[in-house]
């Protein structure tokens, strides 16, 4: 479904990714794990078109992504939940969700998608006319995910969805991701929470200093000595 081949990314002179290749297949949950600054978010921003590759190819369902603008990429069916949600705090919950369905393809299905998001997150339905800025941390994250789902994506990319949440909410968040996946959505997940994300993911890539240093089935990676010592202590 999604394929990156030998991608390099530069921030001005500074190289952030070195020959990254990865694939995400239809229906999978793929996790990207690695320490801070390894380039996980860079990969997501690259796929969503916020960054352009210095070299290499990216394709999604056969469409090359490297030259097209972010809004066209959303139109193709990729939706990114950015780190810490980045919801529109000055707008109502409903307005946030409406904006999620901005692209033409999603606009026609708006009522339907809204219904689905409300079913998935009843809390959002209760607070639909409330300013998004008044929501709690967990609710904000729900809103960010709900907003991304409104665009009726084929691939959902989540950047640290558990960041800043209380432990009980983290658990719920991972259950939620599993549920969204069971409904047929392909997921690319970036997480600090290595244990939970490797348990959840079908496959995972290990990232260090802008390079992929390992890949495998989620639970397999968990048993690797290097992963255990580096992330799980």
């Amino acid at each position: 479904m999604l394929k990156l081949e030998n991608v390099d990314v530069f921030y001005k002179e500074l190289q952030a990714l070195w020959g990254v290749s990865l694939t995400v297949n239809q229906g999978e949950i793929v996790a990207l794990v690695g320490p801070n600054g390894a380039g996980k978010t860079t990969i997501l921003n690259l796929i969503s078109g916020m960054l352009k590759p210095g070299a290499g190819e990216i394709s999604f369902l056969g469409n090359p992504l490297a030259r097209i603008t972010p809004h066209r990429i959303v139109e193709l069916g990729i939706s990114q939940v950015p780190e810490s949600g980045k919801i529109f705090t000055g707008m109502s919950v409903l307005e946030n969700l409406e904006l999620g369905a901005f692209v033409m393809r999603a606009r026609q299905k708006r009522t339907e998608s809204l219904q689905r998001v409300y079913e998935m997150f009843p809390r959002l339905a209760e607070r639909k006319s409330q300013q998004a800025g008044t929501l709690s941390g967990g609710e904000r994250q729900m809103l960010a995910i709900g907003r991304a789902l409104m665009s009726d994506p084929k691939l959902l990319m989540l950047d640290e969805p558990s960041f800043g949440l209380a432990p009980i909410l983290v658990e719920q968040m991972f259950e939620m991701i599993a549920r969204i996946n069971q409904q047929g959505l392909t997921i690319l997940l970036v997480e600090q929470n290595v244990q939970s994300s490797l348990e959840l993911a079908h496959r995972a890539y290990l990232l260090e200093n802008g390079q992929i240093v390992g890949e495998g089935k989620g639970r397999e990676l968990l048993s690797y000595e290097s992963v255990r010592s580096a992330y799980l202590g």
Partner: protein
């Protein structure tokens, strides 16, 4: 007698203030969405004024009828200026964007001034309609028709802009982009289109303001700076990018100026505005109605 002339001053201040608010409305829309500090806003007002002047003197079009003409003309001018000049600064980080657009807009204001000087000469122009001198009196306080019409126009455009931003999908996309352009872009919003639209809309509001300046004051090629300055003061009073704040800020500036001429001396009215500007920057830099967090 004293009460009456105090009332007259207050009314006059409010009526003038509405015009200040309208001038600031476009500037505030542009700044709020694009973070461009367009100090050539006064020149856009000037071009709006000339559109009204020529429509009146060549074709006999009533100034208030020429509002759509001026708006369309300024919308197109704004779109061209954005494409040619400002679109190049979009990718800069916010702080250097403000600095760079400040310089760019300053250059632009000189160019627009000289274009006007070249084509329209340095003559002062204004439009005087048959009803320009009409006024009515309530409780001894005079309400000039022209100024009152300006107030109505300013309020109408504020309401129209607010409804557009709150109720339409495009308006919501503009607000979303103003709040967080990265997230907006991830929603599939083409932020370059939004910037273009916001800039052109802000320019067309300057076009409306230009008409009101032409019927209440006069226009000439170098008038821009003083109106930019007023708009900047008003924008800071109302809070940067705060749309209703622009009108309220305008009214406050208008009343402050007229109160200064009444209680102190009319020579100090401009000074009063600047003092108010400094006080707000020192004590409430987020504006009188602005919130600390956007």
């Amino acid at each position: 007698m004293m009460i009456q002339s105090l009332g007259q001053n207050l009314v006059f201040g409010l009526l003038v203030g509405a015009l200040y608010g309208l001038v600031a409305l476009g500037l505030s829309l542009i700044f709020g969405v694009t973070k461009f500090l367009n100090v050539a806003h006064g020149e856009l007002v000037m071009f709006g004024g000339y559109a009204c002047f020529w429509a009146f003197s060549l074709l006999g079009v009533d100034p208030f009828i020429s509002i759509p003409i001026s708006m369309v003309f300024l919308f197109l001018l704004g779109a061209v200026v954005y494409r040619l000049v400002f679109s190049r600064t979009v990718k800069l980080p916010e702080e250097s964007k403000i600095k760079n657009t400040l310089l760019v807009a300053f250059g632009l204001s000189v160019i627009l001034q000289n274009l006007a000087l070249n084509f329209f000469t340095a003559d002062e122009r204004s439009v005087t309609t048959s009803y320009a001198m009409k006024a009515f009196t309530i409780a001894g306080v005079r309400f000039p028709v022209m100024r009152l019409a300006s107030l109505v126009v300013a309020v109408l455009f504020l309401v129209a802009l607010t409804l557009f931003l709150r109720k339409t999908y495009t308006g919501k996309a503009i607000r979303a982009t103003a709040q967080n352009w990265e997230a907006a872009s991830l929603m599939g919003i083409d932020i370059h289109k939004v910037y273009l639209l916001a800039f052109a809309l802000g320019a067309s509001l300057a076009g409306v303001a230009g008409i009101l300046v032409t019927v209440n004051y006069s226009i000439y090629p170098t008038m821009g700076l003083s109106w930019t300055l007023k708009a900047l003061i008003v924008m800071v009073l109302g809070g940067l990018g705060n749309i209703p704040g622009a009108l309220i800020g305008g009214l406050i500036l208008g009343v402050t100026e007229s109160a200064t001429s009444f209680f102190i001396d009319s020579n100090y009215r401009e000074v009063a505005g600047l003092v108010l500007f400094l006080l707000v920057l020192i004590f409430r830099p987020q504006g009188l109605f602005g919130m600390k967090e956007s």
